[in-house]
Symmetry: C2
Subunit: 420 residues, 2 copies
């Protein structure tokens, strides 16, 4: 059978299974999640996964993959325990399915309830990190969704082993067979096939680099939820507590520069720039951050590199920060609304009106006052888990927890009503 037919068949199987999974009770789903967690930690399974992962790491090294990518790929016992811990935490979360979102009785006696139901089959296309495999399966099972996974080719051995362990445990615990589908192919075309499965997949969530996300958005017939692209800003207002501003900026830039909620550009009000930028530069230098400034910034801190228009539009994901002096909060808001990706933005200020204006007028999923953008995260927001951070506006915006993996359905009771 060719790749395309094989994947379509898997999707049909997933869709059929999704109908059963949608009406599977919470206690069965939770039992399955705990069984999956236990299975990961069983010695023979842990060893099997680590052996598979060692092959992936070896292959990556042979290809000359850079160290930071190998770190994302590599598993060890602790990381497998963390995956199991994630599944147990997902088991402990409330089940969103069945929630009555609203309900009314119409004048004609029709009783209308809007209830939460699963999306159906969720397609996830991701890169590198094998823990996504376990997280995604856990979140889909809990939210009653079948799942079709297409992981990165560099993690194929690890992903195959993880899926094999998890689906065995899930099906053994009563999850409908076929609800977990893994595309066991490194053929690039498999992504294209998934994107054509309209009517079988309800949604595709790409998790990975900008190139992957662009490709999926441009070509998918299945609705897409865009995640993870983050050009995040910190604006230091004229009334800011400058020590706090330095702490927030350093945290936003350096605590984990490769992630989407890290800061890429700092804007500072001209009235405090002369005092603030040297303070900032000293701390950033100590963390090996390369600074790139506009003209005014470089007048204040001479050894900054030159920031071009391209810098404002770049997600470095690295220890690089672009810096710009602005004349007003309006200029700051305009700059952010022009260059941001709709992810996370923060203002450091003591001014009530400016704080309110910034939060109202900046167009992003998460807008902070006096805190680091690094908090944009399902766990930090208290969702207990996260399938990604949506930077689009429809369906889900910001960290996506279990609720964002559902849709609703209207259930209407009558006693013979007809419409005049």
């Amino acid at each position: 059978m060719d790749l395309s037919s094989m994947i379509e068949n898997e999707a049909r199987t997933a869709k059929a299974a999704s109908r059963k999974l949608a009406v599977t009770r919470t206690d069965v789903k939770n039992k399955a999640l705990l069984a999956m967690a236990d299975a990961l930690e069983k010695n023979e399974n842990t060893e099997r996964i680590l052996a598979a992962n060692a092959k992936d790491v070896e292959n990556a090294k042979k290809r000359g993959t850079r160290a930071s990518m190998i770190d994302r790929l590599a598993l060890n016992e602790k990381r497998i325990h963390d995956m199991a811990g994630g599944l147990r935490q997902t088991a402990s979360l409330p089940d969103p399915i069945g929630e009555v979102v609203s309900g009314t009785v119409r004048p004609n006696g029709l009783e209308i309830r809007r209830v939460r139901v699963p999306l159906g089959v969720v397609g996830i296309i991701y890169e590198s990190r094998p823990n996504v495999t376990s997280d995604a399966i856990g979140l889909c099972v809990k939210s009653g969704n079948a799942v079709m996974l297409r992981g990165g080719s560099d993690a194929i051995e690890s992903n195959r082993a993880i899926v094999s362990v998890l689906e065995g445990a899930a099906y053994g615990a009563g999850i409908e067979r076929g609800a977990i589908q893994f595309i066991d192919s490194v053929d690039h075309e498999s992504v294209g096939v998934m994107m054509g499965l309209k009517g079988l997949l309800s949604v595709i969530i790409p998790r990975g680099g900008a190139g992957l996300i662009r490709r999926v958005v441009e070509h998918s017939l299945v609705p897409v939820i865009e995640t993870g692209s983050g050009i995040c800003h910190t604006f230091v207002d004229e009334s800011a507590d400058l020590d706090m501003a330095v702490r927030i900026a350093v945290n936003a830039k350096t605590s984990r520069p490769s992630v989407c909620n890290a800061m890429e550009t700092l804007l500072v009000h001209e009235k405090v720039a002369e005092k603030f930028l040297p303070m900032l530069a000293e701390k950033m230098r100590a963390k090996d951050v390369e600074l790139r400034g506009d003209e005014r910034s470089r007048e204040i801190v001479a050894d900054m590199k030159v920031a071009t228009d391209e810098d404002w539009a770049t997600e470095y994901d690295d220890l690089i920060l672009s810096v710009k002096v602005v004349h007003s909060i309006d200029e700051a808001i305009d700059h952010i609304n022009r260059y941001n990706t709709g992810h996370s933005e923060t203002i450091v200020t003591r001014d009530l009106v400016n704080a309110h204006r910034f939060q109202s007028e900046v167009d992003a999923a998460c807008v902070y006052v006096n805190a680091s953008t690094r908090f944009t995260d399902g766990f930090e927001f208290g969702f207990g888990a996260e399938i990604g951070i949506s930077t689009q506006r429809i369906h889900a915006r910001g960290p996506m927890g279990l609720t964002e993996m559902t849709t609703t359905k209207y259930i209407i009771y009558g006693d013979g009503q007809i419409r005049e």
Copy 2:
């Protein structure tokens, strides 16, 4: 300037205006809606719109357009009053913008609120009915969205006149200039241009025939909300009150056969088919409905035409009904889940377990017990207005009111929090 640059410029203008409209107060928006309603009913404006509409109708007749389409296109004073009434009703609805959907304080003191905000710029591509122009503008203004309209070429004169009257009134009442954009071109390519405006349009809602919707879904880079495709079923269970079942079926098929919530296929349990189908056939014949049956149905009612597999997959939008006898509720649910478009389905039954199973297992936006599918409608559901009926699962499902024209944003207050 070429068409593509012109439309892109209009979209940029709309996007800029959307930022102002997003923070425009409810009283200003309501005043604008009332001013728009008054403007429509001003004699000179009514006459101008009717004169423009007369041209459209004349052109349609010249092209040999069929009577039912001309009826959808034609305006008269009453229809213009109804448009004004719709705007006034929209003014009277609660403003969804600013609603605090949820809010928590995290252990680290971060205060997180999720608030409702507009989508941004809503693109609407529609056919024929000029009242959609007024409805769509009203709903977008109320929900704080800028709007880009692309109506059908057959209604271009009417739409141009309506938009001109409404935007004058809206801008005069304080709505940001540029928030209402109308693509004044019958060039088919304009639809293609709109579909490429990713980053400027937040969403495109196509309203029209299956061909239009398919084209938009397949080619749009902007997220799409699919609306209006409806292969709706009525299942007459063995325990049904058969008189009620006939009333519901006749209403679902004949009260307005051209709309998406009309029934296309009736399924009946074999245990009651012999009694029910003759009752049904008599009433349907009296309403000039053509019946097409499977083999067993035609054994009972001899003069039915033959229903083929194609019939099960057809939205007639006409006085035609396909009929099938099923052996069980399972067969009914399977048939519906195979052929429906996810719109509206109903079961007529007295059986508690079957009612519950049908509502749980049938996969559609609206699932009824003992009522006509014709109730799937924003007004009937009590939303007061409707931009369309979504048959997809993400973002919105079922009738879309003002709330479905919004997204949310996280607003986070801190006092210097950084992430460890």
